[in-house]
């Protein structure tokens, strides 16, 4: 039996307004090479000046993962030559990072939890982008010098599920504290996975393989699974030492395999040394105090939802997994509806109607509307079944809930007089069945309910129908 060892490195692009060491804007989708200046283009004589907001966001992150925040940290220079890095080096923090020794609690499918240790989080500058086009490459340096926080876990995860849960929790936290857009497709949350295997019980760490730049949680899961199989097969075939080498591999989603990025390894020699253009970064006590203020985190929010609204832990963790969903739920609760109904309509009925990449942030039905719909079930204006029809309708049409209920004729009849009249009519039409019922054929009760509901075209309140029928038949 084998055990899988996984460590994760995540590059989170910080959502500051300006770059790490210069005042160039960081915005996406600007025309190529417009957000550049002598500093981020590394022209001779230009010097870096640290963006205070980067320290702020790093401190917030450190606080969120209960880490040590180094009030004095240092920058180091990592040398490598690549056309999208004009300076031919990257400024990073190798020896004394701003954040160290944190932890993250992850939620597993069986309801249990696990603590994953975070080794460090350090500040570094991003590179530009290049587009390959035949015999040339086009370089856009708008992104060069954008601040990144590289978050490095300990190798504490033992399977793909744990790795994905760690990433989801991390993703959720950085969005809750609003230090990053954390958009995997746009590259503001980039994941590198380190994977190795060992026979169960063995304490030693074997050769780890790094899989780079996988841009969805689903592909990360698959990439880990397929890489683990490759390593186990090599072990079992007796070719582990030749085939499994410390290297960087890419995941090919089409073929569902990892592939070696040959050639890069030989040249790697980063010749790190203390960055001579920057002095130490100091966080004063005052900065530490002010900047460690963070909003409520997903775990805290989930705990509060359980206590305040009496929902179960599982539902609470689903609702708090993104801050948008949590906000939606809280907004629904403002309308004074039952938490149980809010959970069902928010986590089951609404998402079931999402199409074409729609999600809670782009839902055509907002929290107030959905809550109003739930309220109309609770005050017995409509039945649960009718509410589903109303939801179908308002997903397509931006109209007022009460107007839609009227328009679709779904208003439930709770007026006992009207229901009594219908019940009387059904009973007189079916006197033979009433006899049978009175003689003990109690199954017929369902038949009467059905007939009344049918007569009302589904608009009668079933509870009222039940009660009145019981009275009349007794």
């Amino acid at each position: 039996m084998f055990e899988t060892i996984i460590g994760l490195e995540v590059h989170v692009q910080l959502n500051t307004k300006t770059k790490l060491f210069c005042s160039c804007p960081t915005s996406f989708n600007h025309r190529q090479n417009t957000n550049t200046c002598p500093t981020c283009l590394a022209l001779p004589g230009a010097l870096p000046v640290l963006n205070e907001e980067v320290l702020h966001k790093s401190i917030q992150f450190g606080t969120a993962i209960e880490a040590t925040i180094n009030q004095v940290s240092y920058f180091d220079r990592k040398s490598y030559f690549y056309p999208d890095s004009p300076s031919a080096y990257q400024i990073t923090q190798l020896y004394t990072p701003v954040v160290e020794h944190g932890k993250l609690r992850i939620d597993l499918e069986d309801g249990s939890h696990k603590i994953v240790r975070i080794n460090r989080a350090h500040i570094e500058a991003d590179a530009g982008k290049s587009i390959h086009d035949g015999e040339i490459s086009k370089v856009d340096l708008n992104r060069a010098g954008t601040p990144l926080l590289e978050i490095v876990s300990e190798p504490d995860m033992r399977n793909a599920e744990e790795a994905v849960q760690y990433l989801k929790k991390l993703h959720s936290i950085v969005r809750y504290i609003d230090i990053s857009d954390a958009n995997m497709q746009e590259g503001s949350f980039r994941v590198d996975v380190n994977v190795s295997i060992r026979p169960k019980g063995d304490e030693k760490l074997y050769t780890r393989v790094e899989i780079k730049n996988i841009n969805s949680f689903r592909f990360i899961q698959k990439a880990i699974e397929v890489e683990v199989s490759r390593q186990i097969e090599a072990w079992e075939d007796g070719t582990y030492d030749e085939e499994i080498i410390q290297e960087t591999r890419l995941y090919d989603a089409n073929r569902n395999e990892t592939r070696s990025m040959r050639g890069k390894e030989e040249a790697a020699d980063y010749r790190y040394f203390p960055e001579p253009d920057l002095k130490k970064a100091v966080i004063t006590n005052e900065m530490l105090k002010t900047y460690s203020q963070i909003p409520e985190l997903p775990d805290q929010k989930a705990k509060r939802f359980v206590e305040e609204f009496g929902i179960n832990e599982y539902n609470a963790s689903v609702i708090t997994s993104t801050k948008e969903t949590a906000k939606f739920f809280e907004d629904m609760m403002e309308e004074g509806i039952s938490a149980k109904n809010a959970v069902t309509w928010l986590t089951v009925e609404l998402p079931a109607r999402f199409s074409g990449g729609m999600d809670i942030t782009t839902s055509p039905v907002d929290a107030k509307k959905l809550a109003t719909l739930v309220k109309r079930i609770e005050d017995k204006t409509i039945s649960g079944k009718a509410a589903k029809e109303v939801l179908d309708y308002i997903m397509q049409n931006d109209e007022d809930i009460d107007t839609v209920i009227e328009k679709l004729g779904l208003k439930q009849v709770s007026d006992t007089g009207a229901i009594e009249a219908m019940v009387d009519e059904i009973l007189s039409k079916n006197q033979d069945k009433v006899e049978e019922y009175k003689n003990g054929k109690e199954k017929l009760f369902g038949f009467f309910v059905g007939q009344v509901m049918k007569a009302s075209k589904g608009s009668a309140n079933p509870q009222a129908v039940n009660e009145i029928l019981k009275q009349k038949l007794s």
């Binding site: 300006t18 000046v49 004394t96 040339i136 086009k138 856009d140 130490k280």
Partner: protein, 96 residues
Amino acid sequence: MQIDDQLLTRLETLSMIRIDERKREEIIEELSEFLNFADNLKELDTSGVDDKFAMDDAPTSLREDIPSCNTEISESILKNAPQSDEDFFIVPKIIE
């Protein structure tokens, strides 16, 4: 530390430059001279000195997060690039 032909080849790879065959001898000599000069520093006894020691112990200054952008500068940088097209810098094909 001495520079030899093998180390020079390694440095060529790392910095992606090609050194002319006729110049190798001269460059090896020059680089060795630099290193020997730096070796002078070894004469100092630094055993009691913190490895984070800096001549200027003041913290690095911080900048407020307020964007400013002078497109004249970026335009003129692009204009002065050896090759550019549609506001991209053009470089020889990068092999991934």
